[in-house]
């Protein structure tokens, strides 16, 4: 199929192209051509919008108890005017939770937490993982052995179980859950970084930098890191998805966000025994988690394909 990136650029008399296209522009263009990545970006855009505007979108506060303010009872079913709920009753799009709060408002505020959880844990893990992987790959020898064997040990535990153990050591709470999930995701980034370092370490341009008197730091950050960026970005995007999923699981087990924090996993965990009597309190938080995770998975997959040079000429 003919598409603009495969067209030969217009050349001038000396045979030089006037228009250069860099990798990121190509990636953007390819990403926008994938329907699944577009869907992912659409969902994520909506979630970011909700997170930024939650205090205006939400009809109630996330910890606003409605006892005495409205004639509603605990775990009441959703009341939506468009779907035939009497107009004289106050509208609650996702029903009332066990503590007589508006579930819809809590769901909106939850978007903030989940996005924050995803980005902060992955940033933490990427920074530490890249440094460890870079040291292991660049200096080799003992450094490599110690760091990578330690990563192997971390990888020898199912990530959720290790995170549970770490949270127990640190104590339950959202921040500690984030640290735990961050720690268990370090090995993935360390491995990616180490592999990239190993492939470019012996390249001529690295030797050239060294011959010109470049320090180890310069070589690592200016010559090697840029080459590792693409796999790190793909791994990071998919990592956000699994971090959100793991954080929700920890909160579901009562080890993450504590009430009244409107975290989707803990909202779901608090009402899980009511699934037969008040399914809406379980359904909506889970749906939100799934949509958020789905958006990052779709974007991550799209990015991987868009950044893969082997797929450069396929549509």
């Amino acid at each position: 199929m003919e598409n603009d990136e495969t067209k030969i650029p217009q050349l001038d008399k000396e045979g030089l192209s006037h228009k250069s296209v860099n990798l990121w522009q190509i990636t953007w263009r390819r990403l926008f051509r994938r329907r699944s990545a577009l869907v992912g970006m659409g969902i994520l855009g909506l979630l970011v919008f909700i997170a930024l505007t939650a205090q205006w979108l939400a009809p109630y506060g996330f910890d606003e108890v409605l006892i005495g303010k409205e004639n509603v009872s605990s775990r009441e079913k959703p009341c939506i005017h468009l779907l035939g709920c009497p107009a004289d009753q106050p509208q609650h799009l996702a029903g009332i939770d066990g503590n007589v709060r508006d579930q819809y408002s809590r769901l909106l505020y939850g978007a903030r937490l989940s996005l924050m959880v995803g980005f902060s844990t992955v940033t933490f893990a990427i920074i530490i993982g890249t440094v460890l992987g870079a040291i292991a790959g660049y200096f080799g020898g003992w450094w490599d052995n110690i760091i990578m064997r330690f990563m192997d040990v971390l990888l020898a535990f199912p990530s959720l179980l290790l995170a549970i153990a770490i949270v127990t050591v640190l104590g339950p709470g959202l921040i500690n859950a984030l640290i735990a999930i961050g720690i268990v995701s370090i090995p993935a980034y360390a491995r990616v970084m180490r592999a990239s370092v190993l492939t470019v370490r012996e390249m001529e341009y690295v030797s050239a930098t060294r011959a010109l008197g470049g320090s180890n730091m310069q070589i690592l950050f200016l010559r090697i890191l840029p080459n590792a960026l693409t796999p790190l970005i793909v791994q990071g995007t998919l990592g956000i998805a699994s971090a959100i999923l793991d954080a929700a699981a920890l909160s579901f087990l009562g080890l993450g966000a504590q009430p009244p924090t409107p975290e989707w996993g803990s909202m779901l965990g608090a009402e899980r025994n009511q699934v037969f009597t008040a399914p809406h309190l379980v359904f909506y938080p889970g749906l939100m988690i799934m949509l958020t995770v789905l958006s990052f998975n779709l974007i991550g997959d799209g990015l991987r394909d868009a950044l893969d040079p082997r797929l450069a000429h396929s549509s």
């Binding site: 699944s36 064997r149 330690f150 192997d152 040990v153 020898a156 535990f157 199912p158 990530s159 959720l160 179980l161 549970i164 153990a165 770490i166 127990t168 050591v169 104590g171 998805a241 999923l245 929700a248 699981a249 579901f252 087990l253 996993g265 779901l268 965990g269 899980r272 699934v275 037969f276 399914p279 379980v282 359904f283 938080p285 889970g286 749906l287 988690i289 799934m290 949509l291 995770v293 789905l294 998975n297 779709l298 997959d301």
Partner: protein, 359 residues
Amino acid sequence: MIQYLIRRIFASIPVLFGILVVTFIIARVIPGDPCKAILGEKATPQVCERFIHEKGLDRPISEQLVIYIGEVVRGDFGNSIRMNVPVTRLLIERLPTTVELSLAALFISILFGIPLGVISAVRHNSWVDVITMIWANIGVSMPVFWLGLMLMYVFSLLLKDTPFWLPPSGRVSPGVSNDPFFEVWGWTVGAEGIWAGLLVFLSRMNILNALLTGNWELLRDAIKHLILPAVALGTIPMALIARMARSAMLDVLGQDYIRTARAKGLGKAGVIIKHAFSNALLPLVTVIGLSLGGLLGGAVLTETVFGLSGLGRTLFEAITARDYGIVQSFTVVIAVFYVAINLLVDISYAYLDPRIRLN
């Protein structure tokens, strides 16, 4: 091949040692006083002192570590401090629940994942392909606990009084006998020893036990109880396997030797199964191995949702109750499983691809 095997097995020894040290450290740094956690807040200092001495918790940490590693190597996991029973017995009683659940989940994920992936690769860009991929993307994004609760709502409540009803929790209905097969066969088995432990372990896997004893009522009941948790746990690996099967098959189907095989007149089905699929197996083995490890983690959530007292659930409860004995040994068992699975994946790699074992 044998040389390769030996090399790989030796390479996993440092990791196993690391696992022992890490679990030991985790169990020690869990905050809180084990004495107070087990004997209650009202335990007097004298009682606590005796308790700590009895359990060996007052010795130097390094000494405790050496004793611990020595015990584990001999297969002695000590006692559960809280329940005061040998951990090995708890393992024998509770591991079968998790093993049965994980195997059932894996079975479901392979049974549906591979054919779906292969069909979508063969019918690339058809509606089957599109639907499978949408569904697979949703599947990998699904929180296990949510899926479990929703399945429970649909199959245990909405479909009540229909033939599709499935029980929401437990492993067997009350009243259904699940006498262990060795008792039914009239074997006399002692209470202790590896042999007795193995028999009890096997008999606790309800489906196996039902098959061995010919107890069809138990078989039907156990399968009914297993379906929902296994589907909940198996959905993510199923989606992963379907995606991997599809992309591996697409890779292979585009190659010249497939066209040659078709051109020399071989049937389409034969080429897909024999020429293409056997070469797409390699990446699939990795995904299956990796998901088997993920299943053990997901088992904590599934067992919580469906009220099963398996390995994951017990471990979670032990961590919150600071039961060192259980935390250490169950984590070690899970991690060893994990290492063993990785080893198996590597070995099957070498078996499937001669280039790996020759290098």
